[in-house]
């Protein structure tokens, strides 16, 4: 598919009119992109793979010694790293499930003729346009037990959202849900509006109930696009750093990326943190692959 697109240039297109050949398009656009990717993505990726087998520390002048799989062994034997992974998994599940529920729910509500629908949708999208760090900083104020507006509004007294080890992770996930549900909502809205109206009419004629219509028509047709939302949000949630880093320092909310940051840039264990980054990369790749397989299956149906 891709090759046919490159080789057959539409004769009436502007590029053809200006006399740009396929070769010059390749030289102008594709080669620079590939070079850019190689220099800034692929090369560091491979270089850091090399470092992950050494005891290199960027903060000293000592040469890097090859230590084989020692870094990987140490990391996978470290109970703290395992607990970071468990925390991250819990966080990803809570936050993505929450976003899916809220986002899809709001999209269902908006998927009808209501006044000011455009304005409402735009306003609902605002949270995801803010910077993560800014959201973190002002949610920290909202959660504050002494003067925070959340406790005031809910009458919770001095409930400690972020200082309570059992609550901190949920508080971070809640903020993430607030911020990224609009993203799921947007994709769901696109999916919902693409469902052909005649299917609903047919279902109404057959006297199908609302639950039946939802599970047999709406959900299956929106599923592929929901899956895309899930893939994006899972990858992002897995990598969450700024929000959690700003909101709390509870060890019970120390996500894998925070651990990685500390290892790489506070302790300067460059070799070991490269190994850790690779472990995370492999995990994200594996999870995404499962999703993509599933997405293809859903699309085939």
């Amino acid at each position: 598919m891709a090759t046919t697109m490159i080789t057959t240039l539409d004769r009436s297109s502007r590029a053809a009119a200006r006399g740009l050949s396929d070769i010059s398009i390749r030289n102008l656009f594709i080669i620079p992109t590939i070079l850019f990717l190689i220099v800034f993505n692929i090369f560091p990726l491979i270089y850091s793979l090399g470092y992950s087998f050494t005891d290199f520390r960027a903060s000293t002048n000592a040469p890097a010694n090859f230590i084989g799989l020692q870094n990987y062994r140490d990391l996978l034997n470290d109970p703290y790293v395992w607990s970071n992974f468990a925390i991250t998994a819990k966080y990803v599940i809570i936050s993505v499930a929450g976003q899916l529920l809220v986002g899809f729910g709001v999209a269902m509500l908006l998927n009808r003729d209501i006044p000011l629908k455009g304005l409402l949708t735009t306003l609902l999208l605002l949270p995801m346009m803010l910077s993560m760090a800014v959201v973190g900083l002002f949610w920290k104020l909202l959660y504050d037990p002494s003067f925070g507006i959340i406790n005031y509004a809910l009458g919770l007294g001095t409930f400690e959202w972020l200082s309570d080890p059992n609550m901190a992770l949920y508080a971070v996930a809640l903020t993430d849900i607030w911020m990224w549900s609009p993203f799921v909502m947007l994709l769901s809205l696109a999916g919902l509006s693409a469902v052909p109206k005649h299917l609903y009419e047919a279902a109404a004629i057959d006297r199908a109930g609302p639950f039946y219509t939802f599970f047999r028509i709406t959900l299956p047709l929106v599923a592929p696009i929901l899956m895309i939302a899930v893939i994006f949000r899972t990858m992002e949630a897995f990598k969450t750093f700024d929000l959690a880093y700003i909101l709390t320092s509870q060890p019970t909310a120390e996500l894998i990326s925070i651990r990685l940051y500390k290892m790489a840039f506070q302790e300067w264990q460059t070799g070991r943190s490269c190994a850790m980054a690779y472990i995370v990369l492999i995990m994200v790749l594996a999870i995404t692959n499962i999703y993509v397989k599933y997405l293809n299956k859903v699309k085939e149906r």
């Binding site: 903060s59 000293t60 002494s146 400690e160 200082s163 080890p165 320092s249 506070q266 302790e267 300067w268």
Partner: protein, 438 residues
């Protein structure tokens, strides 16, 4: 195509030409420090230097949490963005063995700085390894952890009476940790939104360690033997265990949500009427006597870290020395600045601007000790301070301390002994990894 290439090259050439000419003309030194009041005072001092010599001094700053990361990123890249850096005392190991700092031993001996500066500041801000007589920095900002308290709460006759009835002795500035604990408990009244004490708990850098060290050192405990790297029997000694439990108990008298607090929160505890007493670095006390930043300025008093049960009295060291970055192109100019900086009259000016001088002569002078309500406490403290490990891998040791102590203090499971035994095991493993003291 050729035309574009020619113009591009011409452009690059022009930029380079401009760059080099600016470089050659301007005499400018850049000092890197964290973003806080003392850095502003240093900038003012630098302005004086510019008036005298024509060399412009720029103090570049970054917020505290990024300070270490940003400085070492620049060092590791061998960048010359900074000519000098006012680095934390713990960085000495990494800075010297990593080749980032210029060896200042000759400068130190030539100017007899070992005698000019207070002994503790030379030991902790300048020398590495300990006892080697090799120096990598000039003590610049002396600092240690002290305490501020609400004089009006302490001096209220009703409170005094109630306190005496409950504890059997007079309510006054705490002389030891027992009194500190009692007063914290006494003023801890959540129903009135008043709390006993504000302590450091943030585990993202060294706040938790500094707070715990205040208890540890005064209880007569030690982190370990800095010469042999032996930690068993030090960090998990009975004294250390008692100190950790005392610190954990203090946490129960803190305001709600006090699990990520450092200098900002601890000063807020005083300005926002939250706590009776608050732990903080002396460097943050100037804003507490300023009515613009503290509505309770008139009612705020200060005291040195109290003694432990055995009568030992120490405090955790903060503060920084100034080092010349070995990648700087202007090292000679930087040495000239340091020569000016260590002069007695410059040190006096530095103290007058609000900097905490390390000059022994200035510290001992009546003039300095009476200049502010906290200078006397500062003078007393600076002669009984101790510090964290300064080895290049200090950040790993710090992380392990945070990992073990933080959950315990914040209310986690286990006992102080288990916590500190586990920490000793972590530290042993780390020292073994780097081949120290084996």
């Amino acid at each position: 195509m050729r035309k574009t290439m020619t113009s591009l090259l011409a452009g690059i050439g022009l930029v380079l030409a401009c760059g080099t000419s600016v470089y050659a003309q301007d005499k400018e030194l850049t000092i890197f420090w964290a973003e806080w009041d003392p850095a502003n005072y240093l900038q003012e001092l630098g302005n004086e230097y510019e008036k005298e010599t024509g060399v412009k001094i720029t103090v570049e700053t970054t917020p505290w949490p990024d300070f270490q990361t940003k400085a070492f990123t620049e060092f590791n890249a061998h960048g010359d963005a900074y000519d000098m850096v006012v680095g934390d005392s713990q960085w000495l190991g990494a800075g010297s063995t990593g080749g980032h700092y210029v060896d200042l031993t000759d400068f130190f001996n030539k100017h007899k700085l070992g005698e000019v500066m207070a002994p503790a500041t030379v030991k902790y801000y300048a020398e590495y390894p300990g006892g080697s007589s090799k120096y990598w920095a000039i003590p610049l900002e002396g600092d240690a952890v002290g305490w501020s308290y609400r004089k009006d709460w302490f001096e209220d006759p009703k409170e005094k009476e109630a306190f005496k009835a409950k504890y059997g002795y007079d309510l006054d500035v705490p002389k030891d940790f027992k009194a500190l604990r009692d007063i914290a408990e006494f003023f801890h009244r959540p129903d009135q939104k008043r709390y006993g004490i504000a302590i450091y708990t943030d585990n993202s850098y060294d706040a938790m360690a500094m707070g715990f060290e205040n208890a540890l050192f005064s209880f007569g405990g030690e982190l370990g033997d800095y010469k042999t790297y032996k930690v068993d029997g030090f960090i998990n000694s009975d004294k250390a265990i008692a100190a950790l439990d005392a610190y954990k108990e203090l946490y129960t008298f803190t305001p709600p949500g006090w699990a990520k607090s450092f200098f900002v929160e601890d000063n807020q505890a005083i300005t926002e009427n939250l706590a009776a007493m608050s732990m903080n670095y002396f460097a943050f006390f100037p804003s507490l006597i300023n009515e613009a930043s503290n509505p309770n300025a008139k009612n705020t008093g200060f005291f040195a870290n109290p003694a432990g049960p055995g009568g030992d009295q120490f405090a955790a060291l903060g503060g920084q020395g100034i080092s010349i970055v070995s990648y700087s192109q202007k090292q000679e100019e930087a040495v000239k600045f340091l020569e000016w900086f260590i002069k007695d009259e410059t040190q006096k000016k530095w103290a007058a601007l609000g900097g905490y001088t390390c000059s022994a002569a200035v510290l001992k002078s009546e003039e300095f000790q009476n200049a502010t309500p906290y200078n006397k406490a500062f003078y007393e403290t600076m002669f009984k301070v101790k510090d964290f490990w300064a080895v290049p891998e200090y950040a790993e040791l710090l992380q392990q301390l945070n990992q073990r102590i933080y959950p315990y203090v914040i209310g986690g499971p286990g006992t102080a002994k288990e916590t500190l035994d586990a920490l000793a095991a972590d530290w042993n493993a780390t020292f073994k990894k780097y081949g120290r003291g084996q």
